[in-house]
Amino acid sequence: MGFDWNLFLESLGPIALWGLRGTIPLALASFALGMVLAVLVALMRISRNRVLSGIARAYVSAIRGTPLLVQLFVIFYGLPSVGVTLDPWPSAIIAFSLNVGGYAAEVVRAAILSVPKGQWEAGYTIGMSRTLTLRRLILPQAARVSVPPLSNTFISLVKDTSLASLILVSEAFKEAQNIAAFSQQFMVVYLAAALVYWVFCTVLSAGQNQLEKRLDRYVAH
């Protein structure tokens, strides 16, 4: 039996649609929240306060050490047993944000540490507090360094969101599975899904390049 081009082409539309309705908004929202979390965790991790840095360490270790699937499971199916029942979308966004937060925290931390010590000192010397120095001088410079590794995190996230169907959130991959189940042609449909994901990732990577260029204006070439 040859490759069913018809099915391939017909699958693209619905998969892309659910990509736009599910995958992309979920990835964007989780990434945005995850980044806020990541910066906080990174700051806790480098703080002199042992308790804070210990908490941050444990958090990163737990997130990176355990499968995302289990994290989703615990939040959606586990929390109700302690009386916390969240809707699918909030659950998904929380789970993915926590996940991104753990991975990105390490990136942000490395980026902050890569800003030369002299920048901290220059900030202090013009009278800035630690917080002000961080906000005005260190984080903006760390941002530039962390764009490429964070884009990796983001691209992985886009694909990881397929796990969201496990907690009742419809997205591109669930749609592909629906089509595959009906047509019994999973190979063809999955290839269509791969193409959709590839387009999403390529578009988003182009966004990364734009961002890098913007941030690059102050960097020697």
């Binding site: 030369p116 220059a122 010397t125 013009i126 800035m128 960097v219």
Partner: protein, 284 residues
Amino acid sequence: MSPTDPPLGGPAGGSDDAAARADRRADVPSNRSGTPLLKVTGLQKSFGDHEVLTSIDLSVRQGEVLALIGPSGSGKTTALRCLNGLEQPDAGRVEFDGGPVVDFSPATPRRERDSLRRRSAMVFQQHNLFPHMTVLQNVIEGPVQVQRRPRKEAVAEAVRLLERVGLGGKHEAYPHELSGGQQQRVGIVRALALKPSLLLFDEPTSALDPELVGDVLSVIKELAQEGWTMVLVTHELAFAREVADEVVFMDGGVVVERGHPDRVLRQPREERTRRFVHRLLNPF
């Protein structure tokens, strides 16, 4: 502006004591005397087991230039950083005329140490400009964000200062677009814009191309002539002789010799000073 206000803006008291500031303002370069603006006694600092400063005494009067010289590793940078609160001395007293006065001990709170920064500003060897900000933003960052001066006023002041050091056309440039000498001049202007009582320079020309050294030294020389009080770490002995009111030679964590530049650099009394000066003037 008062008629005694020097072209580069002139030193201003960072203290809140207006009377004291007026006093110092009147204290023009030709009149170098009175109580010291900065007095350091018994400064001591170790890194782990390594005692870098054993006991250092320094004092600078209003409008004076103090040049700190000494071999590499003798603790010049460390001493300067202690004055600016970037390093916490283990013991010793740092007092500014009109405050702050800090008696250091391992228990001295960080806040108190940081208070030293109200009065002085530092120019680094590696300039440490903020690479993500334009020249103008670099200069107004302290006045606007820290001192909460009106942005307009800060910009006007910055423009004037940049003009004076020959960077009038570079407001919108980013540091990486400037030569080393231009970057260092921006570093100086960034310090000046804070209107500190005291300027600290840590080998401000040693990272520069030999030809660019002149630019920066000229600016510092002008500042000296205009009455700014400065502590200057340098290896440019000829320059120290020209601008400094006093030269301090440090080695092994102590002050080995101090005095008028001509005396210390031409007829050093101590053998260690003599060797050091000789080596720098006759490298091969």
